[in-house]
Amino acid sequence: MTRKMDSTKRYEKLREAVGNGDVDRRTFFGLLGSAGITAGLSGGIMTAMAGQARAAGVELHFEGWGGVVSEALRKHAFDPYEAATGNTVIDATFGGENEVLTKIKAAGSTSGHNILHSSGVSWYKRWVDNGYHVVLNEDNIPNLKNVMTTMIEPFRAITPEGLSAVPYDYGTTGIAYNTKHVSKEKAMELGADLLLDKELKGKIGGWGGDWANRAWYGALQSGQDPNNIEDWDAVWEKAREHRELVLKYWGSGAELMDLLAKEEIWVTEAWSGRVAALQAQGHPIAYMDPPNGLAWMESMFVLKGSPLAEAEELLNFMLEPETAIAVAAGQKYPSSLDPTKVDMPEEVTNLPAFDPTGKLEALVFRDPQTWNPQEKKQGAMWNRVKKGG
């Protein structure tokens, strides 16, 4: 097992585990002390030796979202793949794909970046527009035939000459609320406006990292179709209204879970899988998708310059029904495999957003044709609104 993870990431993961109740406080401080001593004593020597130790096979660098998602991928996909092939998957966590794009641009090369747990069709288009895509040989990924056609089509429309990614999972960004402080009746009655409830001032959170997420909810709150926004001023006015009530804009899934678990916030928009993970750990957090709530799909995107044969081998391995189902159950996001072709166990069919039809018609996705052209202007606007502008 190989993970590229520095001490800070380890600490964040440990903190997340404490927040989730997986590790008690005494153990936490004990581990922290041990980690400090170990880091001080071993540090660079061990890192150098570890580098030499994994000399065999091809190395694939994977970057993803961290937390329970990365854990599931490591345990159910990467470890078995490494054991089966002798190749190595070095996985790291990013805060968002813009971080990776910034690094690649700064370095002038994709060296050290091979496969991304990429977010949605919008980012697929961005990677393609920037010339970082490849053409995968689909013959080497026979398990692609089990993936929902409706998930493949948007990607193929952007690169008709061949895919640079395989769709892997999907989920929704709905609203999470603490049932000790917010009743189900109130949540259902208010829907997206629950995020604007003045009674909850100082106990509301929001995702700070994505302008489109905020704009989507601003559209819902201002009574507009999110895929056909005509009044952007109204959208940002709602975002400003929301900002006045917000305690903290969170920046990662780990921070979201920490804030909810510690009851720093009671209400926030949230990723369905992360809430499912909190629920599984016994936290009194409920989740709802308001009407026209935001759905998204994620892909495994292969960057230009990657060892293609090995990357295709890994993607095919990850799409094996057994692997994909185990990952889905672990990360709490439904798999991209078509449930009409592959039998899904109950632990997957019970996941939030799961669609048994394999057509995803009940979910509303962001239309990249209408959203991407707005990104430059409205993304900057969101950063401004977020800071009180």
């Binding site: 001490s7 800070t8 600490y11 964040e12 903190r15 400090g36 001080g40 968002g96 813009n98 971080e99 794009l101 910034t102 641009k105 961005r126 527009d129 920037n130 100082g202 990292g209 302008w211 900002r243 917000v246 305690l247 903290k248 804009y249 920046g251 920490d258 510690k262 009851e263 720093e264 990104e375 430059k376 993304g379 900057a380 950063n383 401004r384 977020k386 800071k387 009180g388 502008g389």
Partner: protein, 290 residues
């Protein structure tokens, strides 16, 4: 006629050359690139056009959004510096004046935090100031409050985090300055009739000012350039100018604007160093460092 001209001593030049090369390669050239980049035009996300235009600078000078961020950054930097100076002087004075045999142990304790990642030290405040943190736990246990006090994600928590991280720089500078003061001066002042407070105020404090000023300069500049602490410990309104740079470079993928803001921050903080040099003299820094 004998040649009386003094031969040029080349040793300073030789000794300074590596430093000049390093500064040129690591500071001057990169900053020049950043300045040049500030004139480029961002046409779309992550897509820049080589140009010589002043659109980014015009936005900086005309947009109140940036001005308010500069003002907020200066304000927070001043407050953090003043609080760090007040909080740092006491331990520095104690370490310098103590007759404790193992003074090295106190100094070791002072630099011990540097062994732990800055991010981890910052995150640790969530465990102290958070709703389920140590302080709220204590307050609830003592019955001082019925429900947790909201201390996290505010300007207060950001300042606490900044002071926590930068305080050792202040203490070390003041300590070095105090350590260099002749121990006989205060007793001499006392024998001339000064009270302990007068002896400190009129002898020790003025002589320790170079260290205090050097520490203040460092804390001010470091605070002014921070962006991670507000990101972790702050709420929506708690940001510094560095956060705007982060937004421009990383989230908006607008490097030309990011370059403009970065160069502005460099000029602003550089101006503080120049002002310091004008009024205190940079040679005071060398005194402070012994």
């Amino acid at each position: 006629m004998p040649d009386t001209a003094t031969p040029i001593d080349k040793r300073p030049l030789v000794l300074l050359t590596p430093a000049f090369i390093a500064i040129t390669a690591l500071v001057v050239i990169p900053m020049s690139f950043i300045l040049v980049y500030s004139f480029y035009e961002n046409v779309d996300l992550a897509v820049d056009r080589v140009a010589f235009q002043f659109g980014n600078w015009q936005a900086l000078f005309s947009d109140n959004y940036y001005h308010s961020a500069i003002w907020k950054t200066l304000r927070i930097s001043v407050v953090v510096t003043v609080l760090a100076a007040v909080l740092g002087y006491l331990p520095a004075y104690f370490i310098a004046m103590t007759t404790f045999r193992h003074k090295w142990l106190l100094l070791l304790l002072l630099i011990l935090p540097f062994w732990v990642s800055f991010i981890i030290r910052t995150l640790s405040w969530i465990h102290i100031l958070g709703n389920q943190g140590a302080l709220n736990g204590l307050f609830l246990w003592l019955g001082l409050t019925d429900e947790p006090l909201q201390m996290m994600f505010s300007e207060f928590s950001v300042m606490v985090g900044l002071i926590h991280v930068f305080l050792p720089y202040m203490i070390l500078n003041i300590y070095v300055s105090l350590e260099g003061i002749d121990r006989n001066l205060e007793p001499a002042a006392r024998t001339l009739g000064a009270t302990p407070w007068q002896a400190f105020r009129e002898v020790t404090l003025p002589l320790s000012l170079p260290g205090l000023a050097a520490g203040s300069l460092l804390v001010f500049v470091l605070t002014g350039g921070s962006y991670v602490t507000p990101l972790i410990l702050g709420g929506p309104s708690d940001f510094l100018f560095g956060n705007l740079i982060y937004d421009a470079v990383v989230t908006e993928l607008n490097w030309p604007m990011g370059a403009t803001l970065s160069f502005t921050l460099l000029v602003l903080l550089g101006s503080v160093v120049i002002l310091y040099s004008r009024f205190m003299g940079l040679n005071q820094l060398s005194k402070a460092f012994g």
